[in-house]
C-alpha cells in the first residue's frame, strides 16, 4: 500500500481539525453545563470519521492516538489521556468493523463508535478506580454519547464530500 502526498496532507489536516475541535469543545461547553458530569460531545470524532472515510483505517487510528497525545502535551492530564486513548481505540475498532457493512450507514458507524467510546472509558475508569460502582455511569454515558454520535455523523458528511470534490479538481 502506498501513501500519497494527498493522503498525508488530508491526515495532517484532520489531525489539526481534531485538535481545534477538542479545544473548541472545551471552550463551547465549559464544565458543569452538560447534565452528565464528565460527558463530552466528542466533536473531535468528526475528524476521525472523515479520515476513516476518505483516507483509511490506519490513518484514522493515527489521528485518534496523536490527538490524545497532543492534547496531553498541550497541558492535559495523564488521566484524561488514558481515557481519550482507551475510548478512542475502542471507538476506532468498532467503526472499522461496521464501516465495511453495506447496510450500516455513517450514522450507525458514528453512533456505535460513540457508544464504544463510552464503554472504553468506563473500562478505563474501572481499571483506575478499581470500583465496580462506575458501571452505573455506563448507560447514561452510552446513551448521551449515541445521540451526540448521530449529530457528529451529520456534520461529517459535508466534509467528506468537500474533500472528494477537492480531490477530483486536483486530478483534472
Amino acid at each position: 500500500m502506498r501513501r500519497t502526498a494527498y493522503d498525508i496532507t488530508k491526515t495532517a489536516m484532520m489531525l489539526a481539525l481534531a485538535l481545534v475541535l477538542s479545544i473548541l469543545e472545551a471552550w463551547l461547553l465549559p464544565r458543569g453545563i452538560l447534565p452528565i458530569p464528565g460527558f463530552k460531545l466528542g466533536l473531535a470524532n468528526i475528524a476521525i470519521l472523515v479520515t476513516l472515510y476518505s483516507v483509511g483505517k490506519k490513518e484514522a487510528l493515527l489521528v485518534a492516538v496523536l490527538r490524545s497525545l497532543v492534547v496531553l502535551a498541550l497541558g492535559g492530564n495523564i488521566i484524561g489521556f488514558i481515557f481519550s486513548l482507551t475510548g478512542g481505540v475502542f471507538a476506532w475498532g468498532t467503526m472499522c468493523v461496521l464501516v465495511e457493512r453495506k447496510h450500516v450507514s455513517i450514522f450507525g458507524v458514528s453512533i456505535a463508535g460513540a457508544a464504544s467510546h463510552g464503554i472504553g472509558q468506563i473500562l478505563a475508569a474501572l481499571w483506575v478506580t478499581r470500583t465496580v460502582y462506575v458501571i452505573t455511569y455506563l448507560p447514561y454515558l452510552v446513551l448521551a454519547g449515541s445521540i451526540a454520535g448521530g449529530f457528529i455523523a451529520f456534520l461529517t458528511i459535508p466534509i467528506v464530500k468537500a474533500l472528494d470534490h477537492i480531490g477530483n479538481e486536483m486530478i483534472q
Binding site: 453495506k102 450507514s105 453512533i111 483506575v128 452505573t136
Partner: protein, 154 residues
C-alpha cells in the same frame, strides 16, 4: 462512482464503502444500544427502590481500597473528611442527609460537579485522585464478613 474517479489514480488502496443514507443496520444498532441501556437503567432503578428504606452508608475508596465506611445516621453532626494523598487532596462533606465532594485538587472538578449524594446508588468519582464516594445501603451483611464480629485482625 465518484470515489473511483477521484482516487483510483492516486492510491491503490481500497477505501471503505460509503453509505450516507440512514439504513436498516443503523436501526438495529440504535435498537441494541437503547435496549441494553434501558435494561441497565431499569436494573439500577429497581435496585435503588428495593433498598430505599435501608440504612445508608457512605463508602469512600481510593485505588479500590476502602478508606471509610460508616452509617450516615452517625453524622448528626456533619463532618468534613479530608484525603491527603500523593495524588492530591480532597474534602468530602458528610452529614446524615447528604454527602458531597466539597473540594478537590484535580483539574477537571468533575467530582465536585456531581453534587449531592443522598440515596443508595448515588456516587461521585474523581478519576485523577482515584477516589470514589458512594452511598450504599446497609443491608449487605451477607457479603460482609464483619457482620457478626466486632473487629477483624489481619
Amino acid at each position: 462512482m465518484r470515489k473511483k474517479d477521484g482516487q483510483s489514480n492516486t492510491s491503490v488502496k481500497k477505501l471503505p464503502p460509503r453509505n450516507f443514507r440512514f439504513s436498516s443496520g443503523d436501526v438495529f444498532i440504535i435498537g441494541a444500544i437503547v435496549l441494553v441501556c434501558a435494561i441497565l437503567i431499569g436494573g439500577i432503578f429497581f435496585h435503588r427502590r428495593a433498598h430505599q428504606g435501608d440504612a445508608r452508608y457512605v463508602r469512600i475508596t481510593q485505588d479500590g481500597k476502602v478508606l471509610l465506611e460508616m452509617d450516615l445516621a452517625e453524622f448528626s453532626d456533619p463532618m468534613e473528611y479530608r484525603i491527603d494523598s500523593e495524588r492530591g487532596h480532597m474534602i468530602i462533606f458528610i452529614s446524615s442527609e447528604k454527602v458531597y465532594i466539597k473540594e478537590s485538587s484535580c483539574t477537571d472538578k468533575i467530582c465536585v460537579d456531581q453534587g449531592d449524594l443522598t440515596a443508595p446508588g448515588d456516587g461521585a468519582i474523581c478519576l485523577p485522585n482515584r477516589v470514589v464516594v458512594q452511598i450504599v445501603s446497609g443491608g449487605s451483611e451477607k457479603d460482609d464478613p464483619s457482620g457478626k464480629v466486632d473487629v477483624i485482625a489481619r
